[in-house]
Assembly symmetry: C2
Homo-oligomer: 252 residues x 2
DNA sequence: TTCATTTGCGTACATGGTACCTGAAAGGCT
DNA sequence: AGCCTTTCAGGTACCATGTACGCAAATGAA
């Protein structure tokens, strides 16, 4: 009765308010999702088990299955709830660069608030309404610049790839450190340090070693590093906009 | 005795060949890793359980822990084994663009041969020797072009972000479909189709809808699509190389 | 009231990682 | 040879997890 048909969660509306017979629901999808998000925020996504969520709601694990078909669907709902927090203007400002900077910053903020978000987002296909909304804003920022829809989708994709990967890089060390129970600084020194030192001293990877030794970005805050990389990507997008436009004007 | 100290697997060498007393090992890390890879290739990474791997080797699950401290470490070993299959020339050719194209193609091939590879690779920090080797080749392709090490690392990063994300996009639909037991085409039609159709018909996301309806890349093979996106990224890298170079020559 | 319907949720099972422990090899020493 | 020390093999067991099943309680309609 639970997950018999593999139908997208977005096409499985919650039981509606109807006025027939039967017991009234005591919970809701949103309430369950919100609880799951809260647990995952503080204890990691693995802590948000069905039992734990139910316990937090003061009920039994199996009650949740009246609202959510499968655990995986709950993941989709969590993603969508987190994406719903992203605040964007109603339409693009006309300055695509600042629009995309804003967009990237909002996604990063959501990714840091919910350290599990990007990992889930990139580990499964997701087309939740709020992801679509965010994606649409990215496309709209590039609309009207003379690009065709495939170019626009491609550029938003490159931006998304960077943003997701950068956030993951920013988070994954913290996560991994947390799993060992140590604080990140100490973990980096004791766990990663010795290995990297050995790699550098082996001399086998000279350019990688230069990254480790000569980097001038090591002292930057994570946020500054994110911004640097983002600027690089936006420069690339700018270059592609002009080249794509000129090649199209040659064609037409 | 198993995973007491959280020390990188790369610093925990396998029990050496020594000539003291004691029973001889019947297996090896590599043998176990190879078996795990084989299972994951055909049945997905979730099928490669400790019990299943042990069964395939004709032994008990607990025997594996003589060779691998934790399951997570086995993931790292699997990643490294898959990366070891990537064949690269000894050094860069002097044509950075063809070098990076070769590199991307090799990674894509490995990612398709081992559908679990990219998911694991991007879900946890990994610094295995073969990943370092591949990374080093990417850096070497950009060496000597007048970029500093941070720029080089940044550009290889952008390339990697695209390659990983593109491979994941290419695979994740297949994976998701496989989980339902349906063939991908049917799954896409029955599972995704109705939802996308509803989204398009709602009119709420006009640009996303144009991607779905007007896309001129829909008929391309996955490989061609990958190549298109890659070219775009390489164009962007080319643009950044010239801009980075010119800004540096202004400074000095 | 009686009944159909829907929710709440305890119980139970399959599957996973892995700690612990006992016994079996395998070489060195006397 | 016989014994000792070291190492490997792997059974048993424990705990956590997703979730199928079934029944009791609630609720409105007839």
């Amino acid at each position: 009765m639970a997950g018999d048909e593999p139908v997208s969660i977005w096409l499985r509306p919650e039981r509606q308010e109807r006025s027939g017979p039967g017991r009234r629901p005591g919970f809701s999808r949103e309430q369950i999702t919100r609880t799951a998000v809260q647990i995952a925020d503080t204890g990691g996504v693995d802590a948000a088990t069905m039992r734990r969520i139910a316990y937090e709601l003061g009920t039994g694990a199996m009650s949740l299955y009246r609202y959510v078909p499968r655990r995986d669907d709950l993941y989709d709902l969590m993603i969508d709830l987190a994406m719903s927090e992203i605040e964007l203007p109603a339409g693009p400002s006309g300055d695509w660069r600042s629009d995309l900077t804003l967009l990237a910053g909002q996604i990063r903020a959501a990714g840091l608030r919910h350290p599990w978000l990007v990992a889930l987002l990139t580990s499964r296909p997701n087309l939740g309404p709020h992801l679509l909304r965010v994606h649409e804003f990215g496309l709209s920022a590039l609309d009207g610049l003379g690009l065709d829809i495939d170019d626009m989708t491609g550029l938003v994709g490159i931006l998304g790839d960077y943003v997701h990967s950068a956030i993951r890089r920013e988070i994954s060390w913290l996560e991994e450190a947390g799993r060992s129970g140590l604080d990140p600084e100490r973990w980096k020194r004791d766990y990663i340090g010795p290995y990297v030192r050995q790699v550098v001293e082996s001399g086998a990877f000279p350019l990688f070693s230069r990254t480790m030794l000569d980097s001038r970005t090591a002292h930057l805050t994570p946020g500054e590093r994110f911004g640097h990389g983002l600027d690089r990507v936006l420069d690339a997008i700018a270059a592609l906009i002009t080249s794509s436009r000129s090649s199209r004007s040659q064609e037409g």
